[in-house]
Structures are given as C-alpha cells and as structure tokens.
Symmetry: D2
Subunit: 286 residues, 4 copies
C-alpha cells in the first residue's frame, strides 16, 4: 500500500529470455521508479506473468503516453497487458440479498478508506438494506428476481451496472444464479463469495452438505463468476475449524466470518490488479 500516486502495469506473455530486462529497461529508460514488482513463470505452458507498480510522478509523461510508447514492446512480446492509475478509483457495484455480514463488512472498509473505491450502487432482490445503504449516501436499487421473470431482472441488473459505469460487480451473498448472458458480459469482472471450500459442496446449501459429510473444517471461496456454477477461477479461499457439536446453524454463523474475510481479501486483490486470470486459474500477486 503506497501513498504516492502510482501506475500498476499487469501483463502476461509467452515466456522467453529477457522479458523482465526489456520491460523494466523501458521503465528505467524513462526514470520510472518501481515501487513493487512481481513475476511468475508458468513452467507447464510457458507463459509469463508480471505486475509492476511505478511511481506516477517519476515518469515524464502521463498514462496515455505510457500506453502508446509501451505498445510496440508489448506487441513484440505478444503481451496481454493493462495499466491502471491509483488516482482513478474503481467503481464497484454490490449485489446483496438478505444477509448482512458481507455488506456491513464492505461498507466498513469503504467508510474507512481501507478499500479506496467508489461504491457506485447496491442492488438487491430485497428491500431490506435500503435504509442502511442510503444512510451511507450510496444509491440502492431494489430489483426483485421472481422465478418467472429472471431474464428481465438480470437485464435490469446489467443495465444498472452499465449505467453506474461499474468496473466490478460483487455478489456479496447474493443467493441468485446470474444468467449466462450476464456472466458472459463481464468476464473477470464479477466476483462471488461461495460458502464452501470449493470444489467441495458446489451449489445450494453447502453447510448442510458439509454437516452431512462430517467434515472437520468448513470454508469459503472467492471466485470469478462464469457460466458454469461455482466453477470459475478461484481467487482466494480460507477455512475454519468446526466439530461434532456444531449444528448447521452454527456452521452458518462461523461461515459468515470467513465469507466476509475471504471476499474482502479477494476483492482487494482484484481491485489492486493483483489477480491475472490464466485459463480457469488465477495468478495472485499478493
């Protein structure tokens, strides 16, 4: 976490000799001061990943010029790349249902600027949290999702997200399965928190499944949403110990604590451009 404004360059490309030298050489040539840098070579498929933070005012030009000057090198290295400015706050749209723990947790982090973002709006299939959200000065949209009008509801959600110029959609225990269209519209931009240690206990009522199987730890998983339910790339996971004396209700309660923590961590990694999707997996430069 740095105080000075910085640019974050993230990229992946086929591995070869000299990638770091060329990319950091380009930055050094322009007197760019590197605050933090991470590199990873995937040995199996020969792909290379990187993330570099450069102090904004150490460079003699702005982001637009960085982009045009860097492009030829990126082309040569066959890079997928992007660069973001820490001064431009990401716009997050939060979807909730009737459980409060992730919502309170996110708003506390936003309120203290620990998460230095704009919460563009909160969307819910219930009106439960309108007052709480609006008290924080954040727009709240009640979009019911009736069983026979789901398509229209998700179209509404998509419209609201676009309208709010959202960068990232967060399903903070939304409890609804998004339509394939919506999933496909924003690859790598919709985060979900699933209340199990995936791939165990996919789908509905994972704590009941965990109770039935008699596991000794329960977990939570933050992942990108894809069309395949609970199958998207995993960003972060954690677990908590339970024992034979814990009922499903106890598990639900314990689970909330890891759900909100895992979601907050995964979201932070995502918003700080620490997550690079690689097939159905992620590289997470913590």
């Amino acid at each position: 976490m740095h105080h000075a404004r910085f640019y974050t360059l993230t990229a992946s490309c086929p591995d070869q000799v000299g990638i770091i030298a060329r990319v950091t050489g380009f930055i050094a040539e322009h007197k760019g001061w590197i605050l933090e840098s991470s590199f990873h070579a995937d040995d199996l498929d020969g792909r290379y990943f990187m993330r570099i933070e450069v102090k904004a005012d150490s460079l003699p030009f702005q982001l637009a010029e960085f982009r045009s000057r860097f492009q030829p090198l990126a082309d040569e290295l066959q890079m997928d790349w992007r660069i973001n400015d820490s001064a431009v706050k990401k716009r997050v749209v939060v979807l909730v249902s009737q459980q409060e723990h992730c919502l309170y947790d996110l708003l506390a982090r936003w309120q203290s600027k620990e998460l230095d973002i704009e919460i563009a709006c909160v969307i819910s299939n219930h009106d439960t949290f309108r007052g709480f959200v609006e008290w924080h000065g954040i727009p709240f949209h009640h979009v019911p999702v009736p069983a026979d009008h789901k398509a229209a509801a998700y179209a509404k959600v998509q419209h609201l997200f676009a309208d709010a110029q959202g960068d990232t959609m967060v399903l903070a225990r939304y409890m609804q399965i998004l339509s394939p269209d919506l999933c496909a519209a924003y690859p790598g931009r919709i985060l979900n928190i699933h209340h199990s240690f995936l791939p165990s206990f996919v789908g509905a009522k994972p704590y009941h499944q965990a109770y039935t199987r008699g596991v000794k730890l329960i977990g939570a998983t933050c992942h990108y949403v894809t069309e395949a339910l609970d199958q998207g790339p995993i960003i972060e996971q954690d677990v908590i110990r339970i024992d034979h004396s814990d009922s499903v209700e106890d598990m639900v309660r314990y689970g909330k604590d890891i759900e909100k923590t895992v979601l907050a961590r995964g979201l932070r990694y995502h918003l700080e451009d620490r997550v690079l999707v690689h097939g159905n997996k992620t590289v997470v430069f913590r």
Copy 2:
C-alpha cells in the same frame, strides 16, 4: 446454539469425588433436560469447573426456585456459581473511539441476531459514529476524555453504564486506558480487544513494535480488563501471517480483521457464560 429457552448454570468448586453426579443428579431429579454440558478439573490447584445448559420448560419451576433449591448443594460443595436465563437478553455497552471495524462488525452481528443481546448504548470519546449508531436506533453518548479531566470522564462513563443497566462493557478499540476505579468496579465484566498477541507488545503502538521486531505473524487478544494494563485474563486470541513486504500500515489493516473476529468470539463466549475466570486465567467452554 439452541432454539428452546434454557438456563445456563456455571460453577466452580474444590474438586472431590461425585461432583458431576450430585449436580446432574439434582437436575435429573427434577426431570431437567441437559442440552449441553462441559466439565474441567484443574489438576494443579484441585479446582473443578462446569457449565450446564438445561432446557427451561423441562423443569417444574422457575429460575428463582431453582436458585433457592440448588443453594444447599452449592453450599455443601463450596461453589461459586450463577445461573442465567437465555430469555433474558444481556445488556451490552460498547465503547469506541474513531476506528469503525469493531463497531460495524458488532452491529452487523446484533442486527442479524447472531448476537442476541441488547446494545444498551454506545459511548465514544469522539462524535464520529453518532449518526451510524443512532440510525440503528441505539443511544449514543459523546464523552470526551480530555487529558486533564479523565477522572470526570470515566465517572461519566460509569454513570452511563449503570444508568443503562449494563451487564457487560466492551472496549471496541476504545484507545483509552480506563481508570483503576472503573476497572475495579466491574471485574470480569469489561472486555477489551488488544491489537497484539499478548504478552508480546503490551501498551501503545503494538503494530509498530511488531514491525520493529520483525515478527512473521501478528495477533489480537480479547481479555478482561483489570487495573494492570493488558495483563488481565485472556479469553481469546488469534494471529495472521505477514511478511517483510508489509508496512506498519498494512499490519494495521490486516490486524483489523483479526481484532474484530477475536473480539466477537470472546464476547460471544462471555455472553453465553462460557468463560469462567480462574485467577488470572480463563476456562472457556466453547
């Protein structure tokens, strides 16, 4: 966690043959249905501890009669004991300063009835959270603690606590050191969350101390407040991993996540009568 109303009997006494038999015999004699029971013998000093939950409507009498009927046995066993009714909500007074994480976390748990308590009021040395607290329908008192009028301030706090008929006082990152008088007035009833893994890093700025020492994990400790700063009986602790790349500011951020979790766990144990103080230590029947 049980749905039916129940009584919670907690007790300690000198160890001897037959304690469980006599106590549970008394309950069985009155057809009392035991929902949960825990026993612990401290071998070193020969003291015995117990906690028993009895279904309220399985007994043919109310709590007052339980108390008078049980007293002779308790006397005989030289017991320190108490019994509480799950239908009587505990009244908690929360003290905060300017950090939001523990406050949001406690209110979320209260809002969802995960913590089935009354928050009698919130007291703060700053006015920062008035709106947030009052929005929840909870009284908020701003009691400044100026360096030269601390005694008066703590007298005010004590008065408000008494006035609110508080059972438990929670220092949710209150950042002020209570007066010895106040500490002494409520032994085993004031909980603090200290932002280190005690006994490491007592006192001020524990994250700075941790940074300087170069530890690889940081922690938080929920303990009862006594006159000796950060020396009271420990109820709950936890840690989180950090590394060389984490600044003090990063530690503060990570630390918040364990502070609020450890406080919530410790408070729950306390409110459910799971904590028995034993000298400067605790027995915690989770």
Copy 3:
C-alpha cells in the same frame, strides 16, 4: 494426558433425562475419581455420546468387575459402550509403501513415548524401509501386492494383523486400496490418511487434481477405512496455503507436512478412545 493409570469409558445411547446423573452416579457410588469427562447430544437423531476417564486406583475393583457391575445400567440405557485400561498398550500395525514422512513421524512419536503404544509390526509392499524399521526393534514384513494377486496379498496382511494381535491398522500413505473383505473385517479400526481435503479430490493423484482446479489451500484427511473409497467417517482434517507459484511437486512436499500431522492427531484421538463413530460421521472428544 494423565500420569496415573485410568480407565476410559466411552458410550452412546438414546438421549433421555438423567443419563449423566446415572452414569456418574454409578461411578461416584464406588468413589471413582473422574479425571476428564465429555458429553454430546446429537439433536437431530436424539443420540447421546460420552467419554469419561476414571482414575483406576480410586475404584475398589478391577476392570472386569466394573464391566459386570456396569452392564445392567448400560442395558437399561440401551448403550453401546466399552471401557479401556490406560495400562494396556494398544497394538498398532503400520502399513507403508515408499514414502517415508508418516513412518518417520510415527516412529519418532513412538520412540519418545508421546504415542504410548506397541507398534506390533510394519507391513509394506516394498522392502525400502526394512532396515530403518528393524533398527527400531520392530518386525517388518514385506508383502508385495502384484496386480494379479491382490487377494492373496490382502489375505496375508489380514493374517499378519491377526497374528500380531493388532488393535488398529494404520495406512501411513500405503497407496494401495484394501480389499472390501479386509475393510469389512475391522470396522472403525483401520485408519487412512488421504492427501486431500475430502470430499474434494477423491481417489488418485489428488494434488494433481488440486493443481488443475487452482485451489488456494490443500489439505489432508484422516478417516476410517470403509469399502467405499475415501468415503469413510472423517476423524481429522487440516489444510495448508499454497499459491500460483507452487507446482504439483511443491504441493506434494507441503502436503507431507499436513499428512503426517493430521494422521498423528487422528491416530492419537483414536487410540485414546476419543473417537465415537456415528453413522458415517465421528464424534471426537478432544
């Protein structure tokens, strides 16, 4: 962990009023000194579980007489029960293949008397560890398991186990799937360590499966062996954090550390009669 000789009574029965009172009343009547006791009511199916340690020399009779005197009460309560004597060491037979970590770990614990057992013998489908095992004064049997003579091999294993008067069989990364006959012969007496956080990644090469799915934690599970592969009652589990930079080989290495720890914990719980099987789950009185 107690120094004095003690008896461990474990039992389960239909729940009703007065179970603890009657069982501990029986013990108190004979001046039995209870060192440790644990009770658990399963609310869903109304079954009650208990484990009680009684100091041996506080009772006026030996185990045989305890058994006969206790039987009428056990009958009345419709108990499944057993009682064991801490002075009688359990006889454990360890099955290994070519990985050393669990074997070294178990022998270190046995050598220091942390596990106060007899290791009756070690059986392996390879001759790799003969010297190491025999150096410790423990008999070693090489029983190859050729693909076309598995039945004979498992018959041999069963014969050796019976011959060694084994109480418990431990598959310490044995890497072979026992025959259904062998599994059925010793219900609740064969422990396996599976190298995944079950129910994720059942069967072969779980670390490869974990790598492919991109999980952020890997685990290990100690469970009783049943005829259904990796489906038996879970005794203990744990996990360890990995990240994108870890290869399958790294996972195998990290995994060893939790495999041996989880196996040792699970085995200890089993040997100390802390595990009560309940359907396909376990009650573990730690």
Copy 4:
C-alpha cells in the same frame, strides 16, 4: 523447486531507479533464462533486495566467470551479493540434545531428498541418538557440555563444524546456549528453533511461562542465533491453538509439531538462499 541446475543470485543495495533493469539486463545480455525472481524495496531505509534464479546451462559461462563479470555492476550499485549453484549441496551440521522430534523430521526430509543437502555430521551433548544417526550413515559426535567446561565444549563444536566444512549449523532443540564467540563466528549461519512465539517467553521453559499467562495459542520461532539470547532475526514462526484443559505437558507435545515444522520451513528458506538479513530482521522470498 526446479529440476534443472540453476544459480541463485541474492543481493541488496541502496534503492535507485533502474536496479532491476540493470541486473536483469546483464543476465539477458548473456541469454540467461530467469526461472524465478523476487524483489523488495524497504521504503523506510531505502534499501533494495532481490533474489533471482537463472538456469545454469542457459548462460555461456560458469559461476566463476559470472562472478567476475558481474562484479563491476555490483560495485556500481554498491551491492552486498552472493551467487550459489544448485548443484553444490550445502553442508549442514545438526546439534541436538535429547529430544527426537526435530532430528527425526530433518532426517526424514534428508532421506527423501526433500532437503537436498549433505548432513555433514550430528553433534550432541548426549549420546542418545548415536545409533539412530549412524544407521543413516551420518557421523555422530558426542560433545558433553559440563557446566564448568562450556568454553572447551563450544571450542570443540566450532572445531567439528569447521572440520566438517559446514555451511550452516542447526540447533534442533539443542537446549544449550552457545558461547558469544561461537555466535559471532558464524553470523547468519546458525539457526535455532525456539519453543515460543517470540518475543513472548524468551529464555527457559517457555511453555511453563505460556501456561502461567494463560495464552490461547502457543508458538515456535526459527531465528538466526546472535549473542543476545532469543533476540536474533526471525525467519519463520507459527502457532497452534490450545485451551484451558491443556497441561504444560500437553503444550510440550503440541509444541513439538510446530517446532519441527517451523524449523524445517526456516531451514529450507535459508538453504535456498531465500533469506536476506536486514538489520535485526529478515526478508524472506518464499
């Protein structure tokens, strides 16, 4: 963990623009293939740290020539640096007393080549493990440390270490406090495992101290040995949960499991040149 032979360059220097570019530029110029690289800027004191693994056969020269060619650049950047060859096994000398857990654990890791080192010899103040060590083909030296002849004993240890051409000395629960001379002779080369979560419970009988204070987690710390007891730079730490029912003896037993794990992790980091000492702290590039 890589299979191909590689060189590991570790360095630190004053931070400035262009360090990565120049170092990786040097490597790229010679077609060096970077397998793994980590960088860290310490913002507080402006020092820069790095660790780079280069595939040995991608370079057109051997290590000696690398050293002489790289020196001018290192001089210019005012680097403290070293480079090691994965094909040259480090020589480790293990010091033990009468506890077996760390010794068994290290030998299991050595036996399986998980730790790809030479164990040059084992030195002990007791003769307890001679047979076990020698069975593994490793020289064993019994060097008693009588209270009145400690200096001579440590001189003997130092002589044996030198004689064995030891790179690293590991105090695997050695239970003796090395002489200041010996500590000073090998800065950053002697690792100790302390059985507490430092800085809590320095010195003797930390589990007794932990028991008395009533902590809810106990820990272990792997650190470099310096003249100040238990004050050296921390490499790795971990903790394990305990509760009121655990005696000191139980803590000792639980503690062994984290002691051996923390020591093994710390030692691995050290042997793989992942640890850079920075004042009294460490940078650990995991």
